[in-house]
């Protein structure tokens, strides 16, 4: 019988320590991936051991279902989580997602996984109180697998290929379910085009979330004013995407007022802007932007119809022109860049805005159905 690559340990405690010594952890202890545990994990998904779940094209790395199962055991997953783990790996491996950037960049993003559909409740995924925080095995361990795969299979180790300037705690794990029962809208994955009753993951490269607290109004426009203000903060403003997770209390205000996803996203896009003058005063406009047509288009996207972008010769990254006061620079390129979900405890006016990774466009949202 062929011995599978690995090592022999005398007991689980020495196995855990040897995993540390070999650099196979995210800093937390791992469950030692024994052959029996790995085979049980693999057996819970529809994939053969050598099926490639994730291909990273920049460096030509292929992560098989077997390697994913090993990392899933280490993360602490139960076997029934594995179909969700596999779908999440397929999603971050989608060529459109361009994983190399969010996996390695100074931006230090976390890989957010939003789970929808009946599988979320079956696995006990938390969509309610403290959904971004600790306490629930499925949330903690499914998200953790992605990080372990990046560390162990793609060598995205801090200081080696992971060059995050600061990183953030969501990089350990950032997986949660949408609270479909508290949502005024169709489930996120259905909005994204999948059939009702299916289960799916939606992935996103997220910077750390901003709490958007609001307890003083039930009026949709007043409520959303706080969200738009956070989205337009100079520290975050970019042509990139946004994820908003509305707390049930805030979602209920939108529901009572009859605001749909589209109207809400359009309102947020329209109101999340800063003047070009503000951007220049805050050092957000770089000289090199003017060599990049897509960034120039972002800066002047809101110009009156039929007017042309100022001549290159007149542009200056730091000099504030009087006309710059009236040029509105929005977060993102349109309402489709704003993904809306619902989750959190019943009590509290605390929602969250997650800016995209990168000062550019970042990577798109990718939704994948979970294979049963």
């Amino acid at each position: 019988m062929t011995t599978r690559p690995g090592f022999d340990a005398v007991d689980p405690w020495s196995a855990i320590e040897q995993c540390y010594e070999r650099g196979w952890t995210d800093g937390l202890p791992v469950v030692p991936p024994t052959e029996a545990l790995v085979d049980a994990m693999l057996g819970a998904g529809p994939w053969k051991a050598d099926h490639v779940l994730l291909h990273e094209p920049v460096r030509g790395r292929a992560v098989t279902a077997e390697k994913a199962a090993i990392n899933a055991v280490m993360a602490g997953c139960r076997p029934e989580y594995f179909p969700v783990v596999g779908a999440a790996l397929e999603a971050i491996g989608d060529p459109e997602f361009m994983l190399h950037g969010p996996a390695t960049s100074t931006g230090g993003s976390a890989l957010m996984v939003i789970v929808n559909g009946p599988i979320a409740a079956r696995l006990g995924l938390n969509a309610k109180t403290n959904l971004f925080g600790p306490g629930v095995r499925a949330n903690a361990t499914i998200g953790r697998v992605l990080r372990l795969v990046l560390l162990n299979c793609l060598d995205c180790r801090p200081g080696v290929l992971d060059k995050s300037t600061q990183g953030w705690a969501g990089k350990y794990s950032l997986c949660f379910a949408e609270d479909e029962t508290a949502s005024p809208w169709e489930p996120l994955h259905v909005w994204r085009g999948l059939p009702t009753g299916s289960s799916a993951v939606t992935v996103y490269a997220a910077e750390s979330g901003h709490n958007v607290l609001s307890h003083g109004t039930s009026d949709p426009e007043r409520l959303l004013t706080g969200f738009a203000d956070v989205m337009a903060s100079l520290g975050s403003l970019s042509p990139g995407r946004s994820v908003i997770v509305f707390a049930p209390e805030h979602a209920a205000h939108l529901k009572r007022a009859g605001w749909g996803r589209r109207r809400t996203a359009e309102w947020l896009y329209t109101h999340a802007w800063r003047s070009l003058a503000d951007l220049k005063r805050g050092g957000k406009v770089e000289a090199a932007f003017y060599d990049n047509p897509s960034l120039v288009d972002w800066l002047y996207r809101d110009r009156p119809h039929g007017t042309s972008i100022p001549l290159t010769a007149a542009m200056d990254a730091e000099r504030v022109e009087p006309t710059d006061e009236s040029v509105r620079v929005h977060r993102g390129l349109g309402p489709d860049d704003i993904l809306l979900a619902v989750g959190g405890g019943e009590a509290g006016g605390h929602s969250a805005f997650f800016p995209s990774w990168s000062r550019g466009r970042s990577v798109p949202f990718v939704t994948k159905e979970v294979s049963s």
Partner: protein, 96 residues
């Protein structure tokens, strides 16, 4: 004893360990230099300086400039072929 399985790609299938290194050039005089920038701000500016230095010190000849359209994406097959066909050496850099 408990058998513990290796979670890494470990130099086996799927890893890049099998990729051979290109032969090293023995001289740079008259060689065409490829510059492959990641497409972010200042990447090509950095590479252009390197090309000028190589020209001053080692007498390299022409230059072929390629900038990726997205820093997160792999270089396109067309660009890789262009660099392979026209250049004796390729210098790549991350600018930002």
């Amino acid at each position: 004893m408990i058998r513990i399985l290796d979670p890494t790609l470990g130099g086996g299938s799927g890893s890049t360990a099998a990729m051979p290194r290109a032969p090293r050039p023995t001289a740079l005089s008259g060689v065409t230099v490829g510059l492959l920038a990641n497409g972010k701000s200042n990447g090509m500016a950095l590479l252009d300086r390197i090309w000028l230095r190589l020209r001053e010190r080692h007498g390299v000849a022409d230059v072929v400039r390629v900038a990726k359209t997205n820093a997160s994406a792999p270089v396109s097959d067309e660009d890789a072929e262009l660099l392979a066909k026209r250049c004796g050496i390729v210098v790549t850099a991350i600018g930002d």
